[in-house]
């Protein structure tokens, strides 16, 4: 070490303050570790500042607008709904602020030192942290890398923050765009596209795959497709985007659809084609960490990288890129550092998509169940037969339970419909507990509520559902 280059010693260094990083920091502190957390931006990471929370706020607000304009069949006539978009964005910003300051006070309450700065690895146990005013070397005993991910850029149409935007800018626009092209029909593109469509934007979706929401059961994504059509969204599948011309006032996007070139024009283009892990520019090679071909950091079941005392969690550690997966992994890494025998061990990961209607699924699909050697039985209960869904004017959708025919064990649940994102939790819990269909059936569900649909679907597995004719 160069004379004068003193290294400040820290016990556990957490790099990144997102849902993985801050949760890891808290759990490590709970277990008696002295924790230092470094983040180059705001606490809360993408999820709180530029992801989950702001997008859900905007989705909710746009849904309220939509309902006001579309409730005449319930006898609600609203004359001239006015949108103050500046106020809407401000309301969203206040929610974000509330939550990030909550994280800050949790850091303080757990005596976690928080530094705002950029981390660069200089060795297997040293980093340089560049803050606004200086650069300091830290020597750590253990380190948790939780640097997250960022929107993937298309080389031929890079983000400019104005006409070609990512989800980040789409969540903080100054006004509702008249027209918007969404490149990518995955969950981010569709969630934001739906929100703007409800606010009055003319939305066009260009998806490269055969249908929107690739990876989601087609019987579920079809219901979203139907609603998009109703909202006047122009959905184009098998559309390979080739180029963008932003020389005029608008942007013209050219895409190849079924062998034909087609040009689309809009005020802005939202590129939502995926997320790239933030594993470059960290100097990870200096620490001895190699990345896989997609830029993720390989880890074991205890979230350890190849370098024993360095852990990686969340989006940088691979798919699925979900906030709750990051937090779960953060707890594991912290516990392992504290000497506990924790490891990744779950039966069911919930996936939720805040489209209209919402989608949520967990565990195995029928196809996956077959692949894993089960003889699955599938039971579907429609929200059209659920009193609460009807009273909510949201009867489109269903709950579907996949169970093992022989043991009746619940293997997976797929939900499309109102509050699917909340409903899925019962299913995740049932699978974690190793519940059989009868367990859900014998559990009294409050009436009239949406979760009754899960109970009925489970009863359908046994052929004794009450509110539908059993197969």
């Amino acid at each position: 070490m160069v004379v004068g280059d003193f290294a400040t010693e820290v016990d556990v260094l957490v790099v990144g303050g997102g849902p993985g990083g801050y949760v890891a920091a808290i759990r490590a502190a709970q277990l008696g570790k002295k924790v230092t957390l470094v983040d180059k931006g705001e606490l809360g990471g993408v999820c709180l500042n530029r992801g989950c929370i702001p997008s859900k706020a905007l989705i909710h607000a746009s849904d309220e607008v939509y309902k006001m304009k579309n409730s005449s069949h319930m006898g609600i006539e609203v004359d001239g709904v006015k949108i103050d978009f500046t106020q809407m964005i401000q309301w969203k910003d206040e929610i974000v602020k509330k939550l990030t300051s909550g994280v800050a006070s949790l850091m303080k309450g757990n005596k976690i030192e928080v530094i705002q700065g950029e981390v660069y690895f200089t060795g297997p146990d040293t980093v340089k942290v560049a803050t606004e005013s200086n650069s300091t070397t830290y020597k750590f005993n253990d380190c948790i890398i939780a640097t997250g991910s960022r929107p993937t850029e298309l080389k031929f149409m890079p983000f400019d923050g104005k006409k070609i935007i990512s989800s980040t800018e789409a969540l903080s626009l100054k006004e509702v765009p008249e027209s918007l092209i969404v490149v990518g029909g995955g969950y981010i593109g569709l969630e934001l596209g739906t929100a703007y469509a409800k606010l009055g934007t003319k939305v066009t979706v260009l998806e490269g795959a055969d249908s929107i929401l690739p990876g989601v059961d087609p019987s579920m994504s079809r219901m979203v497709q139907r609603k998009l059509k109703k909202l006047g969204v122009d959905v184009n599948a098998k559309a390979m985007v080739k180029s963008a011309d932003k020389s005029g006032d608008t942007v013209k996007v050219t895409a190849e659809i079924k062998g034909e070139e087609k040009t689309f024009e809009a005020d802005k283009v939202l590129v939502a084609v995926g997320r790239t892990p933030n594993t470059d520019e960290l100097g990870l090679d200096q620490a001895g960490i190699e990345l896989d071909e997609r830029g993720f950091i390989p880890v074991d079941k205890q979230m350890r990288t190849k370098v024993e005392h360095i852990y990686a969690i969340g989006d940088v550690a691979g798919n699925p890129m979900l906030a709750h997966k990051a937090s779960y992994e953060g707890k594991i890494a912290a516990e392992v550092i504290a000497g506990e025998p924790s490891e990744v061990d779950y039966q069911a990961m919930p996936f939720v998509i805040f489209t209209d209607p919402e989608l949520a699924y967990t565990g195995l699909t029928e196809k996956e169940a077959k692949e894993q050697g089960y003889n699955p039985v599938v039971s579907r209960f429609s929200f059209a037969a659920n009193g609460r869904a009807l009273s909510l004017d949201a009867a489109d959708g269903f709950c579907q339970v996949v169970a093992d025919k022989e043991t009746q064990q619940i293997l997976g649940v797929q939900i499309v419909g109102p509050e699917a994102s909340s409903l899925i939790s019962e299913a995740v819990f049932a699978i974690e507990m190793g519940a059989v269909a009868e367990d859900l059936s014998l559990t009294i569900h409050a009436h009239p509520t949406l979760p009754e649909a899960i109970m009925e679907a489970a009863e359908g597995v046994m052929g004794n559902a009450i509110h539908m004719v059993n197969k």
């Binding site: 506990e340 025998p341 924790s342 061990d345 039966q347 043991t407 064990q409 190793g434």
Partner: protein, 47 residues
């Protein structure tokens, strides 16, 4: 096939803490679930 071990999350955690490979434990609980008793009895000679 890769069929699952039937045990509650807390029991799976307990097995790890006890250093037991839960896939080797036979479950005596409802529907063949592995219980805490099964973990405690694991490796002990039958009485």
């Amino acid at each position: 096939d890769k069929k699952r071990v039937l045990a509650m999350p807390s029991v799976r955690k307990k097995a790890r803490e006890m250093g037991i490979d839960i896939t080797q434990v036979e479950g005596t609980g409802p529907h063949g679930r592995i219980t805490l008793d099964d973990l405690n009895n694991f490796g002990k000679a039958p009485k």
